[in-house]
């Protein structure tokens, strides 16, 4: 038997004999499975969309996360720096440090926004507003008792009143808290003027609080000096406690008299109290050699707490020249200046600073705009009489 040799026919026959294979499933089940499978096919779409959304979120979130870390780093560095500076200032109350440095930052961004929103106006007091009144300037501590803010007002002086009487009378009318500053006046002291010795006598009661803590001592002495120097020609303050010479201060010991030097040669910066829209122009405690150094300092953030740069980039000076009592500032040709409140304040800070250096008028050359708020930039601008005018009714 040639079992191994297959003819084509035999093979075909064999193939035809191969068993019929049947699908034993119920057709209903098959149909049911069909629809399931159909749905299954599109099942990958949902995870696909989810993945795409996740990726999108990822790419959106990651850059903001980076930003945030950088920001907080920045912040940390700033805080550190300001702390160190604060330490060098030594006499400040250290407990308020941290709070204040954070407030400092909110103040910066705050001022810029607010300035664009409110209508343009000036802050200082000028010749034309004075009439026949007398200017009184009060140095009021800010809400954190870190800096002294000069606030000026106008009073009518009678023949028989001297400036100190007016000063004492008006002291009680100040609305410090309404202005975003701390309630400091009236002083718990009796002030009398000794015209023959050109001296102001300051008498405090025994239970006075001015000697408690380094901050309040400094504020008391500084505010007295500044109040007297900016309102009069008096050059000496005599201190007494309940009629006895000298006031006992915790840190300074007993002080009997203070010499008053004339104010001046300071740089003015912006200060905005927390939660307020007002901007004050506040001078630094340090004085500057010349006006150039002062202007240069005003472009950057000052060391003192709560103050912000007052010479905004739109005031880019090309040249500064002083002719007698006139300051001529040449503005860079490429400077862009908008007629907004921030620029008005900046100009006023420049004017006030110039006043400290003995300047009477300021002239801007090459100014990109002709008028800025109430100022006509094509003419000489007179320096203000006093900063931060607040009328009192």
């Amino acid at each position: 038997m040639k079992k191994s040799e297959w003819s084509d026919k035999q093979l075909e026959e064999l193939l035809r004999q191969m068993p019929k294979i049947h699908d034993h499933r119920n057709p209903r089940d098959i149909y049911q499975n069909l629809s399931i499978k159909k749905r299954k096919r599109s099942a990958w779409i949902i995870p696909g969309i989810a993945t795409a959304a996740a990726l999108l979120l990822f790419f959106l979130l990651v850059p903001t996360m980076f930003d945030r870390t950088e920001y907080s780093l920045d912040r940390a560095v700033q805080e550190k720096v300001s702390k160190e500076e604060q330490k060098s200032l030594s006499q400040e109350d250290s407990s308020t440090l941290k709070e204040d440095s954070t407030k400092n930052e909110t103040g910066i961004s705050g001022t810029e926004q607010k300035m664009l929103m409110t209508s343009s106006d000036k802050t200082a007091l000028y010749d034309d507003e004075l009439g026949n009144g007398t200017v009184l300037t009060y140095w009021i501590p800010d809400s954190q008792a870190q800096i002294l803010v000069p606030v000026s007002t106008v009073v009518q002086l009678d023949q028989n009143k001297n400036w100190l009487t007016a000063f004492i009378e008006t002291m009680g009318l100040l609305k410090e808290e309404e202005w975003g500053l701390s309630d400091y006046y009236p002083l718990n002291a009796t002030l009398t003027l000794d015209t023959t010795n050109n001296t102001v006598m300051v008498d405090v009661p025994i239970n006075h609080k001015y000697g408690e803590g380094s901050a309040s001592e400094t504020k008391f002495i500084d505010s007295l000096k500044k109040n007297i120097s900016s309102n009069s020609q008096v050059n000496k303050i005599m201190l007494t406690t309940n009629g006895q010479p000298g006031i006992e201060f915790g840190n300074f010991g007993e002080i009997k008299e203070i010499q008053v030097e004339s104010e001046g040669k300071h740089a003015y910066f912006f200060y905005t109290p927390d939660g307020m829209e007002t901007t004050y122009l506040v001078p630094t405690t340090d004085s500057y050699q010349n006006i150039n150094a002062a202007f240069e300092a005003m472009k950057t953030e000052p060391l003192e707490m709560g103050l912000t740069a007052s010479v905004v980039p739109s005031f880019s000076f090309k040249d500064i020249e002083i002719k007698e009592n006139k300051l001529i500032i040449t503005i860079d040709e490429n400077a862009v200046m908008e007629n907004n409140l921030e620029n008005v304040y900046s100009l006023e800070a420049i004017l006030l600073t110039a006043k400290g250096f003995g300047i009477d008028t300021v002239r801007l050359l090459n100014a990109p705009i002709n008028s800025l708020g109430p100022f006509d930039l094509t003419k000489d601008i007179k320096v203000p009489l006093a900063p931060n005018y607040r009328p009192i009714q």
């Binding site: 093979l11 191969m18 294979i21 049947h22 699908d23 098959i30 499978k37 159909k38």
Partner: protein, 183 residues
Amino acid sequence: MNSVFDELYQKYHHDVFQFLFYMVRNKEQAEDLVQEVYIRVFKSYHRFEGKSSEKTWLFSIARNVAIDSFRKQKGWKGRLLEKFDWSSSQVKDDYPIPEEIMIHKEEIKRIYQCLEHCTVDQRSVVILRFLNDLSITETAEALGWTEGKVKTTQHRAIKVLKKHMEMFNEKEGLDSEEVRVER
């Protein structure tokens, strides 16, 4: 239930299933693939123009489904390996002989195993022609070939089968050789 499905099921389900079974040589897989055939049929039923008969149209779909499943089985890994390993260029399956075949006589088992050695094209022709009883013309229509190509492929397939059937005999047919010697 869908009337189209009903009709197709009644007329062709078992033929299509049989074809797929012998193509992939696994019952479970054939069950999955027959579903796939229906899905494709429903997707393109509106495009069916009646140029060819419904039967050959179904078979051509079934064949494509089977070929796709071979590709999928190999996956990208398999395809990559194949590039480096020329010896295994033929798709081999490791499935054991299904129960349905096991219960039949020896020759059936052997020819089932020999079918494995045919190419996909050859196998398609053999199954369509002899198991599904399609004519040459119908087979040509289902495969989209000319009748001549069907004939030559069929011829070659038979040759391959014959060769392997004989190899089987040689391997285990020592006694039959001996018988020859004795004669």
